[in-house]
């Protein structure tokens, strides 16, 4: 479980996260949604320590993450897996080397065990015959799946996904969403997905937090989101309808 308690963050005097608190449940797929510029990625980067926190606490199963020293934080991150928006696969390494990298760095596995684990992870994300390909030779969806395989390679307790569907076609987006959800259940991870894709919300949103202008605006699940009585959330959920109506009114 991850608890976020009253966190705030400002950049050059502008408050981008304002006293936000919420709880992300273990073994579930937690979604943080909101429009562009609402502070989703900033929250995610604070949660993994890529941005510092101005005030408040980030607590991972009782450990106050933002109070850890550099070395302690570095060690703690071995329990964290992350799927970046662009995949962030290492260009100079093959897919196999990418996935094997955290295992070679932090485990005492033999080379045979490492390759077995790499193949296991690739099978989990349904990728075949890509071991010796370089990231530049993969499609967008394949890159995301390879990056997901790398993120789960060292069996993390916490999985963070930054806009996993960006740049993907609707069909591939569904595949990636399903994979994230399946892996969360299978490995009992606490998964946090940052997205503005409503398809993802409807498909895998077990616990959904809506962020609006740097503040938590609404919290619930995929079944309650459509009936929520919250103007900003409904505008976000039914963005296309709202825009149509707005255009219609202005034309009249």
């Amino acid at each position: 479980m991850i608890e976020i308690k009253n966190i705030s963050k400002s950049f050059v005097g502008r408050k981008v996260i304002d006293d936000v608190s919420f709880t992300l449940q273990a073994g579930r797929t937690n979604l943080i949604i909101g429009e562009s510029g609402s502070g989703k990625t900033t929250i995610l980067k604070m949660m993994v320590g890529l941005h510092t926190v101005d005030s408040g606490q980030i607590i991972y199963d009782g450990v106050v993450f933002n109070d850890l020293q550099d070395k302690q934080r570095q060690d703690f991150r071995k329990d964290i897996g992350m799927l970046f928006q662009g995949g962030a696969l290492f260009d100079s390494m093959t897919v196999e080397e990418n996935i094997a990298f955290p295992l070679r760095m932090f485990t005492e596995f033999s080379e045979h065990e490492i390759i077995e684990r790499v193949n296991f992870c690739l099978a989990k994300v349904r990728l075949q015959n890509v071991n010796n390909l370089y990231p530049a030779e993969l499609s967008g969806g394949m890159k995301k799946r390879a990056a997901l395989a790398r993120a789960i390679a060292s069996n993390p307790k916490y999985l963070f996904c930054d806009e996993p569907n960006s740049g993907l076609d609707p069909k591939t987006s569904i595949v990636i969403d399903e994979l994230i959800h399946e892996l969360t259940l299978e490995f009992k991870m606490t998964t946090v997905v940052i997205t503005h894709d409503m398809n993802s919300v409807i498909q895998i949103g077990e616990n959904v937090m809506f962020l609006y202008q740097g503040k938590k605006w609404w919290e619930g699940d995929k079944t309650s989101i459509l009936s929520a009585n919250n103007k900003e959330l409904l505008e976000f959920v039914y963005a296309a309808d709202f825009l149509k109506k707005k255009n219609l009114n202005s034309n009249l």
Binding site: L50, F76, I80, M82, A88, R104, F106, F160
Partner: protein
């Protein structure tokens, strides 16, 4: 601050050792072609120019070989070749690390629990310091060889005069000076480039800027270090 992080204890020596040899190949072996061509021709040109300049009958023609050797060992190979490497290797390192920064690959390393500064910078700096003296030694040899081939081929001097010249008044201590400054220049090239790349912010344009800054700053520092080291060794 960055260099302190870069030279902290490696997480796993085996992975770093592999990376070190990868960088030795990347920085050193891949520069061999360029160094071979440049050194051979510059050695030749120095010889021809020297022969053309030594018109006085008081200056023996073996001085051509002596001049070629001194020029290559003292200045051309350690300093000018290092300046050329600042462009090739420094630009390459800055753009590689800068691209990794803007495509979140450095963040990915950090999230895995890897000290990204150490993993990316330490093997490059050590590989540079290790391989640069070898490159410079090859450059010295090829420059002197180029002088011989072109000097004899153009009739600027005879084979005997040239060989006698390169053996005359040889002071081994000058090699120590040359290799010492070579190692210092390698540390400058790799660390400046790594610093510029590591702190790149923005997009492709900024990666290009980092690369340019790396080359300019490294070149200026090499010239400054060259002056200081020369002062220390020769006074």
């Amino acid at each position: 601050m960055l260099m302190r992080r870069a030279f902290s204890k490696p997480e796993k020596l085996k992975v770093y050792t592999k990376q070190f040899f990868f960088e030795v190949n990347n920085i050193g072996i891949s520069s061999l072609g360029l160094i071979t061509i440049i050194s051979f021709f510059i050695g030749g040109v120095i010889t021809i120019q020297a022969a053309f300049s030594f018109t006085s009958p008081l200056v023996p023609l073996y001085a051509v070989g002596f001049t070629a050797r001194e020029s290559m060992i003292l200045e051309f190979s350690p300093t000018i070749v290092s300046l050329i490497l600042a462009g090739k290797v420094g630009g390459n390192i800055a753009s590689e690390i800068g691209s990794m920064r803007i495509s979140e690959q450095i963040d990915a390393l950090e999230i895995m629990g890897v000290n990204s500064a150490s993993f990316l910078i330490q093997p490059k700096v050590l590989a540079g310091i290790f391989i640069n003296p070898f490159l410079i030694a090859i450059s010295m040899f090829l420059g002197i060889l180029g002088g011989y081939v072109m000097g004899v081929a153009t009739g600027a001097c005879t084979s005997y005069q040239y060989i006698f010249g390169i053996q005359s008044f040889f002071v081994p201590w000058k090699l120590t000076y040359a290799f010492f400054k070579t190692a210092v220049f390698a540390a400058i090239i790799t660390s400046i480039a790594a610093y510029q790349g590591y702190y790149t912010e923005g997009g492709a344009l900024e990666v290009g800027r980092s690369s340019t800054k790396a080359v300019v700053y490294a070149s200026i520092l090499i010239l400054l270090a060259n002056f200081l080291i020369t002062q220390i060794f020769f006074t």
